[in-house]
Symmetry: C3
Subunit: 238 residues, 3 copies
């Protein structure tokens, strides 16, 4: 399902399960891969790719969720909270993370991509989309908050309320991805970017700590006081 | 003043009062039109247009505000709170809303446009502008919050503090409108977009409920906790 | 170090200290210049430029910070809080401010540029960058909040977490600066823009008061309630 390789400073996490739909087994294998990345030391970066030619990740494993009993997808009950917690680990990971979006990234797959530090998307095919509204489902607050804090407010609204399907070039223009590339070059460009970012992980407490400061509990930058107030009272707000 | 038509799933609200300046009568006719839209069921969308060739809406009815006694604009005292409440209804309306900005949209007219889900603006003429600073007036907090939550932060500041006049192409680039069109095509493009979005209103409780989640009281995504914290504690934040 | 000139409505503040690195003396001369601007009345605007051909401001005066005893940079102990407080004065200054970024703006120099109302950047050379992550340092919360509230969220993250070096054209595309210009035209364009904005300072209480509303203590637009809630309860939120 999930393969993790290391080549020098670069870890490559390959999602290799067809459409890469999320179930508990998938989440736990992913979590085990993050354990391995976190157990490393010094300069490093993580690149996430898909083995599929068409899908980055097509969302939740709906077939598994709709059935009962034994399934390779694992226990259904703990899925929701474990998936959300995995996303929290990704967004605050202590090493730089680069996501190569080679194809469709829907729902949970879009969330996973957004939890990386950098997104590079295939330019000619594939959509990223949070399609809950089309399915008549409300987006859970933590997912809304993720979209709210990662992309500009106009793109946020089109994404969550209008369920817009973004192509690579559109997603680049909207500030959802940072670069586009042809399918042939996508992986190599992602590896190069990871190599450039890897030195930032030399001090992991600093690199991860600042992500926590931005995205964690009582994130000061989300508080009621504006920048001027904080600048004036900087001694109380480190 | 205000005309509401229905053609299949699409409601068209036409502002037909010259420069379409806001007074209490205008607000109440608009509110009555929203009552009718809300009384419908199932897939639907609303398109707001202006009958003028030059103005979408040129702001408050200053002549009415400056006078006293009987006036077709109606009672002056309840205007402020009724106008703001109408904007709140628009921004959380349970059906998708598309605004065709055919000409100038100033002050209250800009606010009304921003309260729609999608804005399509004429490409060759017309400005959108919040001109309070030029008039030596502070923008009320609810209006600031509206700009703050609808457009990227750089565009927010230029809009509210520098009173920038945005052309259609500039507003598109800045993320304030989602599309531009020639005057000839504007209405048709808005209708087409509304037709594509209408199915999202099939479950109105979901579609409107999520807007409330984003723009309403104690909107969790505006709270002090970041996305990572909410993802970690997703059981408490639905 | 710091020179302030006035020509009609336009104040020009020239940073003339080589790389324009920040120490306590530099901060205090800058503060004295702001005193003079604030003591004026009526329409006015401030343009900040650098006398260097290569640097706008290259960050903190690290040589001064690393040494002890007498130094033209002044006392070291009060620097942090005085610098932050100066930035707070800039971001809420009662007259429009235009920053001409003629060359590199790093760290504290980037912050100073962001505290202006408008940034115009040289198009052919120079980078703006917050390089703390590269140095293994966390960014203080007030500085994070400044970046968080001035630029779109995608540009915010690339700036603070990935220490991206932005060229002029990239910074324009990302919404960090509002215009680019050739080195030859930069100063003149900044002066023209200042001339256009100067009338906004006619009512300084309004112009500065609204900046305080946006960036100050308990800035209502940063609170937990969304725009719809505030619109509905506008009587309590002016």
């Amino acid at each position: 399902m999930i393969e993790l390789e290391r080549d020098g400073e670069i870890f490559t996490l390959t999602m290799n399960d067809g459409e890469n739909r999320w179930n508990t087994t998938f989440v736990r294998e992913m979590a085990a891969a993050l354990d391995e990345v976190e157990a490393s030391e010094g300069a490093a970066a993580l690149v996430t790719v898909s083995a599929s030619e068409k899908f980055f990740s097509n969302g939740l494993d709906l077939e598994w969720l709709a059935t009962q009993g034994e399934h390779r997808g694992g226990d259904r009950e703990p899925f929701g909270s474990e998936f959300m917690a995995l996303m929290a680990r990704f967004i605050t990971l202590e090493v730089p993370t680069v996501c190569a979006i080679n194809g469709h990234a829907f729902g949970a797959g879009f969330m996973a991509a957004l939890c990386h530090d950098v997104r590079i998307m295939r330019s000619d095919r594939g959509f990223i989309c949070a399609n809950e509204m089309q399915l008549g489902l409300r987006i859970p607050t933590p997912e809304l908050a993720l979209f709210r804090h990662k992309i500009p407010l106009n793109a946020f609204f089109e994404t969550v309320q209008l369920a817009r399907r973004w192509t690579g070039p559109e997603a680049l223009q909207a500030g959802i991805v940072q670069q586009t590339a042809s399918m042939e070059e996508l992986r190599e460009i992602a590896m190069q970017r990871a190599g450039l970012l890897a030195p930032l992980a030399a001090n992991r407490e600093v690199y991860g700590g600042q992500k926590e400061q931005i995205y964690g509990e009582n994130a000061a930058i989300n508080g009621p006081h504006g920048a001027a107030y904080l600048l004036r009272n900087s001694a109380q707000h480190h």
